[in-house]
């Protein structure tokens, strides 16, 4: 399926067929064999660590994220952070050095991690009912173990499961999904290869039952006419992710409840 483009000028005409990799083939299949509106396979597990108050592990395709939640507990470091009427949510995002193709050591305080941590904190401050825990602190730590596109989404989904596992009240789930626009068609759940092909894509985090968008992020340029299509596809993707996570939570709760009441 290699297209040899002899004349250098022609490279500008067919940007998404570079190096023989077509993002969408003629039959409508993507590089990993999905259709344009298909999500990657989601596997999740709650209660991974016994020491933490809540923990969860999620795999979306090849992207793997691990989240742990501690809290609510007394504010330990820095009495200045205490809020008298609600809990402080503290998020920390990190990527493992082995998570990308090339091993790259990432110091904790670098710009990208801080930006992601801030986005996560804003997302969860909107969803966790913090008014119930004055003067406390809730810590959410997320780590990416393997990055294959959709890092923020995997973090949000893993952190949602971890917060539910910790028994911290939330108004609703938060599910996140990406959607892009390539060759006149919207694509759901962008993987790393599709991201680096340069197509515009946006990330949406929303509360699926109340259909409210918590966070919307886009770093590329998309024509306003196409915005609605892409946004609709992303919200539909979030609801699909929610269906998978909800089933998993229900199974986990009913199994644990049965174990506790059997004695």
């Amino acid at each position: 399926m290699c297209h040899k483009i002899r004349h250098p000028r022609y490279w500008l005409i067919v940007p998404f067929k570079m190096a023989g990799l077509e993002i969408i083939s003629d039959q409508g299949y993507r590089i990993d064999g999905r259709r344009s509106s298909e999500l990657r396979k989601v596997c999740a597990r709650m209660g991974v660590f016994t020491q933490a108050d809540g923990s969860a592990y999620i795999e979306q395709g090849n992207t793997k994220a691990l989240a742990t939640v501690y809290g609510p507990h007394e504010v330990r470091k820095g009495r200045g952070k205490i809020q008298h009427d609600r809990a402080v949510v503290n998020c920390q995002f990190s990527m493992a050095t082995f998570s990308t193709g090339e091993r790259k050591s990432r110091p904790k305080g670098d710009r990208r991690s801080q930006e992601m941590s801030m986005h996560l904190r804003q997302t969860f401050e909107a969803v966790i009912v913090t008014e119930l825990f004055p003067r406390s602190q809730i810590d959410i730590y997320v780590q990416i173990l393997q990055a294959d596109g959709g890092n923020y989404c995997a973090c949000v989904n893993a952190a949602t499961l971890a917060v539910i596992d910790a028994g911290i009240p939330m108004k609703d789930y938060v599910c996140a999904c990406t959607a892009g626009f390539i060759q006149d068609s919207p694509l759901l759940d962008i993987s790393y290869v599709e991201e680096s092909a340069g197509a515009p894509f946006l990330t949406v985090a929303m509360m699926p039952k109340s259909e409210q968008i918590v966070l919307l992020e886009m770093n590329s340029r998309l024509h306003a006419d196409n915005m609605e299509k892409v946004l609709d596809l992303a919200t539909q993707g979030c609801k699909d992710v929610f269906a998978v996570l909800d089933r998993h939570v229900r199974d986990h709760v009913s199994e644990s409840h049965a174990l506790m009441t059997a004695s």
Partner: protein, 291 residues
């Protein structure tokens, strides 16, 4: 010395009976009837009562609440807790009790050594660090709850006070069954304090005569014989095995687990398959006794 290494095993789905009657997840609508009072784990959105936790809905007359699987300890007055001192402050100690805020132990709520009854003076304030320091473990009872949810503890009885030699095990607070007494002298040769906050203290058998004169502050630091140590280690591993398999902890279940574990070596109880066997044996025996 051989190191025990096992490959990861997929978790077995235990034989689960039918799902509990009313299971909710955050954001689920519990009811649209406005006649109900909302309890823990719920919130009102427009006219609908929605769940904010994943758990089972419990309805008591007109009160609806959602019980989660595990949560931080929520104190009730009269509970027995085991806690660790985190800070020595002005006329009070701050104690970590696995709750969302540290509990407070006021100077006026402890027994002075020698059992004196007098007003606490400035000298007592300066001597606070000699009674309890950061890192000490205490057993206490919840006296009151502050308006922000922090607990106020007291050690006014002689059975409470500083804990000396023993082992602490941390489990989830929802696994400790509420009973009349939480101090148990087990016939196998050890004492157990099952704190309502999930902190469990296992120690050599307490002799009642010794603590009366000291007022709860003298630590018995004599070496513990190795037979007692083995009993304590075995009990600790049994409690961890029960907690991993989500069995409720009370004196009978701990004792049955101890008896079921007798055939194994103490260190073998840490292996997941043997721990599962002990938990299953205990569960079967408890079901036979009750059913």
């Amino acid at each position: 010395m051989a190191v025990h290494i096992t490959l990861p095993e997929s978790r077995k789905k235990s034989a689960v009976p039918d799902a509990p009657k009313h299971l909710v997840t955050p954001g689920d609508v519990i009811t649209t009837d406005t006649g109900y009072m909302r309890g823990h784990g719920t919130y009102m959105d427009d006219d609908k009562l929605k769940a904010s936790l994943a758990g089972v809905v419990e309805r008591v007359n007109k009160l609806i609440c959602v019980q989660p699987l595990k949560t931080r300890y929520n104190g009730e007055i009269g509970d027995v807790v085991v806690g660790r001192v985190t800070e020595v402050g002005q006329r009070r100690w701050r104690v970590d009790v696995n709750s969302r805020l540290d509990a407070v132990l006021m100077l006026s709520a402890v027994n002075l050594p020698g059992g004196e009854l007098r007003r606490r003076s400035a000298e007592d304030e300066l001597m606070m660090r000699e009674y309890l320091q950061e890192g000490d473990l205490i057993s206490a009872e919840v006296q009151a709850i502050f308006h922000d949810g922090a607990l106020s503890l007291h050690t006014r009885s002689l059975k409470y006070g500083k804990l000396s030699q023993g082992v602490m095990v941390q489990v989830s607070p929802s696994l400790v069954k509420r009973r009349k007494t939480h101090f148990h002298n087990l016939p196998c040769g050890a004492s157990v304090i099952l704190g309502n906050n999930g902190y469990v203290w296992v120690s050599p058998t307490i002799n009642d005569e010794k603590t009366e004169s000291s007022g709860g502050y003298e630590q018995d630091l004599e070496p513990v014989p190795s037979t007692d140590r083995e009993v304590i280690a075995r009990l600790r591993n049994c409690i961890l095995a029960l907690a991993t398999h989500k069995l409720l902890l009370y004196d009978t279940s701990v004792l049955y687990a101890y008896e079921a574990s007798r055939q194994h070596q103490v260190k073998d109880l840490l292996q997941p398959d043997i721990a599962e066997k002990v938990a299953d044996d205990t569960r079967q025996r408890l079901q036979m006794e009750s059913g």
